[in-house]
Symmetry: C2
């Protein structure tokens, strides 16, 4: 999901989040190395994953808190928000194992890094198997630490308890959404409904709605703001994901970090794909379906597919959905329940995340 | 690890733990199926893993609580103890993926179950890859739910906070221990020190010491009892694991659930193996090392290996260590800090877990 790094509503807590994650990692590196010094490369891989990224979930948790009247610069909130990055690190590390992806944010994926370590040292057995096993465990550690960091954020235990409902729901939903995504790939469904459901759970609830709910709950105003944040978060999350999917087909590799057509090569069952199949004649649809996910997809095939996405009207339909969902998200910000401090930044986030280029 | 099911100190909370896990799963099945009905088979696989096992960690957590003066029959403690079973389910599901093991407790491993589902339905792509991906996500769900169940056990938030130190340490240590175990396999170390370190983290701290600490912390007496429980738990855990390792080589398949020689076929770097290598001449050691981990290990090779384990004196050395560690664990129970209610059961657990047959 693409949010410009120069963007103020997103960058306002980024350096604080980075600092808290570094400090947590430093203390936990000590605990790990006490168990065994050989854990250092695993900890290095973990930190490499945790130190990158756009901090979207912490950003929404932060503005969820501010929109519910929470004070600016509260260190407890920074830590609770930062804890979501460990969950995200787990999700990415495990996703890359599941999808057998080689890279993440332009760097080798965790299982690749660990496989390289195995190969460099000349250890026994398969490097790929070792890398995969190590990445599973590093992801598990991230998941456990997410929760540990949340509970140790410094909020009173009763306050933390208020936040558990969104915190817990977020974890169940992202894993369920990821499972459904995997399922759609192997079933080859490619229906609009299936694509929308995955977007709803894997992106809209996980990235936007639940972090906002968490911020509101920690500020003690979940009940008043849950509806507003849902009305803002679900359409925004879907618009976000749609923009990402369009960029994954047409986007500039220098800004999205992946080559154009990459999503087509990976065979992702996005809404862009579902719209294209639903709007094309049987022969075109069949050819598109057969090309989708072919690992050696030729440049001219990618071009033909991009052409069909446009000529079928799928691209225009997706752009129109992005506009509509964007409008819904902005409308939700009119709610009088929302603290004035957050209205502008939450609006900025809508614009930044859904515009055509970055 | 082998503890007889007829055993009273272990069985005292087993049915309570089963009931709480069932009830948690029932309510969470609802949440999952709301996301998508296709999640039912994943939930079935999850419950199959959670419904089995000896409940060792809840048992030690329970007696840790009773030994610290906690009341019998406290439902909050049952739930907090039961939450450890979700962590254990995650560890087993992910271990089976990492080791590519086909079975668990005589049933198909989770990734195998999910691969069978894929094959039965005739979905696209590889069944093995799907099974592995699904099992990673199901394990993640178990890990998230472990923490969710702990926090929702019903103890006051301040009390739960007291328990977080052992709860958190347990999770980091088991993952670190599992990583070191994987590392020892690929490095082919097979030193006594390496084997003992893995036993310390993967079994002694994870299965015995930290659950006892958790019980004591929830009873508000962690400071007074931590030392006693460490003095009891570490040697007991190592004796447990040693007994398990001996049974993994010589044991009766009907009671251990795996064929004799299975650990030799898997190439596990146990202390039994380390002792054998350290006590054998270079030619025997080399032959043993070469046979260890061969997947098609012939029956007569297993017999030769078992013979060397005995003739080298490794078996006797391990039996003598079991006795010594057992004695240390029993000695620790003399502490006046320990509540009388737990002394007998904790002693029974030592005897049941370290005796020669079951």
């Amino acid at each position: 999901m693409a949010v410009s790094s120069a963007f103020s509503a997103a960058s306002v807590i980024r350096s604080d989040v980075d600092r808290e994650l570094s400090s947590f990692c430093a203390s936990h590196r000590g605990h790990l190395l006490e168990v065994g010094e050989e854990l250092a490369p695993a900890m290095d891989s973990l930190e490499a994953m945790v130190s990158g990224g756009k901090r979207l979930r912490p950003t929404f948790a932060h503005w969820g808190w501010r929109g519910a009247g929470g004070a600016a610069g509260d260190e407890r909130m920074v830590r609770a928000a930062a804890s979501l990055e460990f969950l995200q690190a787990c999700a990415l590390i495990h996703d890359d194992v599941i999808d057998n992806s080689d890279t993440r944010r332009g760097q080798p994926a965790t299982h690749k890094r660990m496989a390289e370590l195995h190969a460099d040292r000349g250890w026994n057995g398969g490097s790929e198997e070792f890398g995969r096993g190590a990445a599973i465990l590093i992801g598990d550690l991230c998941l456990a630490w997410s929760d540990e960091m949340y509970q140790a954020s410094g909020f009173a235990p009763e306050t933390l308890r208020e936040g558990r409902a969104p915190f817990d729901a977020m974890r169940t939903e992202v894993m369920a959404g990821q499972y459904l995504d995997t399922l759609e790939q192997v079933r080859g469904t490619a229906s609009r409904e299936a694509a929308l459901r995955v977007m709803r759970y894997k992106t809209a609830k996980y990235t936007v709605e639940r972090p906002l709910h968490l911020g509101a709950a920690l500020a003690g105003r979940h009940e008043e703001l849950a509806g507003v944040y849902t009305a803002y978060g679900i359409p925004l999350g879907i618009a976000f994901q749609l923009r990402d999917d369009v960029l994954g087909v047409f986007g500039d590799p220098s800004t999205t970090g992946k080559p154009a057509g990459d999503d087509l090569r990976e065979g992702k069952r996005t809404l862009v794909v579902a719209e294209t199949l639903a709007r094309s004649g049987p022969a075109d649809a069949e050819r598109f379906r057969n090309l989708l996910g072919a690992p050696d997809l030729a440049v001219d095939s990618v071009e033909w597919m991009c052409g069909l996405i446009e000529s079928s009207g799928a691209l225009a339909a997706c752009e129109s959905m992005i506009s509509e969902y964007t409008g819904q998200a902005l409308d939700a910000l009119e709610s009088p329940e929302l603290d004035e401090a957050a209205r502008g930044p939450l609006g900025e986030l809508v614009v930044a995340a859904t515009r055509r280029s970055h």
